[in-house]
Symmetry: C2
Subunit: 282 residues, 2 copies
């Protein structure tokens, strides 16, 4: 009846590794134990969740998987937040940042240095959701992430219950190669006008084209090229040689055209438990 969350943990591991025995190794159980975990889940729900040999989720198992990882994440977040209340003054400041917010992270740390004692400090640059998860689970003490959103709207992050401590919104611009006819055009461009343009998919740096399409409420936005780097310079270089366009905060775009005003903004959020010493304000 109660369904131990560890069973779900083994279930998602088995599904990910597509193997009972591999999951057993990873989790420190025996092959038999893993089998029993899955069997218990299946008995509790009254249906088979995995097809065996090859191991693959059934229809029901696939549905459970979507929920299971979210639940496990939130469980970890809950534990982390509770134990955080017990810890005294911070002896460390491990901060995560997305590439476009690394500058903001640096300034925030510098400002905090004035009041903070000399604690061990680490800055880690990574993908947005990964940073949010790391902060929620207590692996990091604060995170600064960015993305595009409607004005006033929080970023769409994995559901961890983590509060947005602060945020800053900036105008967006479409980065273009220098000399492009649209550069420095008087009036701003609407995103919908550029569905058929050659876009660069750079999920590590800026919003993926899929979410961009959702905000523009338009189909299309097919990637001409994919950039897997975690830095803005590389992406801008690709734009400059004409490989494609990218939507970025106007601040970092040298050659480009502003986005028609209030539809979308670039948003930088500070994710941290209450009482953080960091400030985004400039």
């Amino acid at each position: 009846m109660g369904v131990d969350p560890r069973f779900m943990r083994t279930f998602v591991t088995v599904a990910r590794l597509e193997s009972f025995s591999a999951a057993a190794r990873e989790l420190g159980y025996t092959q038999s134990g893993v089998s029993q975990h899955v069997a218990a889940l299946e008995a509790d729900l009254g249906m088979t969740l995995l097809r065996r040999r090859p191991v693959a989720p059934t229809e029901a198992g696939a549905r459970l998987l979507e929920h299971a990882s979210a639940i496990l994440l939130r469980l970890d977040a809950a534990r982390a937040e509770v134990v955080r209340t017990a810890s005294g003054p911070p002896g460390r400041a491990h901060v995560g940042a997305t590439p476009l917010s690394a500058g903001a992270a640096a300034r925030a740390l510098a400002a905090a240095r004035r009041t903070l004692p000399a604690v061990e400090t680490i800055v880690r640059v990574g993908e947005r959701d990964a940073i949010a998860v790391a902060v929620a689970t207590g692996e990091l003490d604060a995170g600064i992430v960015d993305g595009i959103a409607a004005p006033g709207d929080p970023l769409r992050l994995p559901d961890t219950g983590l509060p947005v401590a602060e945020f800053v919104e900036e105008p967006l611009a479409i980065a273009l190669p220098p000399g492009h006819p649209l550069v420095k055009r008087r009036s701003g461009l609407r995103l919908e006008d550029l569905v058929d343009a050659r876009w660069i998919e750079a999920p590590g740096v800026t919003t993926s084209l899929a979410t961009l399409a959702m905000h523009a409420r338009a189909e299309g936005f097919r990637p001409a090229l994919r950039y897997d780097g975690l830095d803005v310079g590389g992406l801008l270089a690709l734009v400059e040689v004409g490989e494609g366009l990218a939507l970025l905060p106007a601040r970092v775009v040298e050659h480009g055209v502003a986005l028609a005003s209030p539809a979308l903004v670039h948003r930088t959020e500070l994710l941290a438990p209450e009482g953080t010493a960091l400030r985004l304000a400039d």
Copy 2:
């Protein structure tokens, strides 16, 4: 180490009822069992979660509470969604609707009647989050809810993993008493211009003033009057006699002024598991 989710369930119940024995009665345990549940949680997390006599959450307990209800909801939603995959063709159509979307619900049902067999049908009108939760946990088969949002943005609902099957967006208007100087003004009004107006807080019908303030990115919006009804007519009547203003879909507003265009829209969403026969389209 594993923490049975039932422990969290008892924990939130104890916190809600502020009593171990009352929680025991409600959950069908003995007083001793409840005590042991809480003790197990406290032991697992290594800190006390509740102060006794009077029963009140500690700092750590309060943090846990925020997560616990979300986790329990998602657990119920996961179970409901998995068992739904097993159920064959629907033998019933229990549909929930918020007051402002009851009309849309009626039309959707009428349209579905053409293809659907004569199944038992119930329409329940209720508060927005309650309907979302009921659909997620399988209590209802579909829900139609409404609220205000930025164009293209989904409504902010409790995190259940439930997909938005369909949605419709409409312009908003500020309902005014007839003869009000602003009625039928040429240009639309911005929300920020009306922070100091007399607003009616009607959480059962339209968005609460708190979320309204968040979208307008402005403080203020203090309620002049609170309306606890679940119907639009009563709210409009209050507006008409000059008790205050309300933000509503333009469709239902007879005397009023349109909202300056693209900032906010009224959004109606169909919440249902995949494969629903309902359609919002008109």
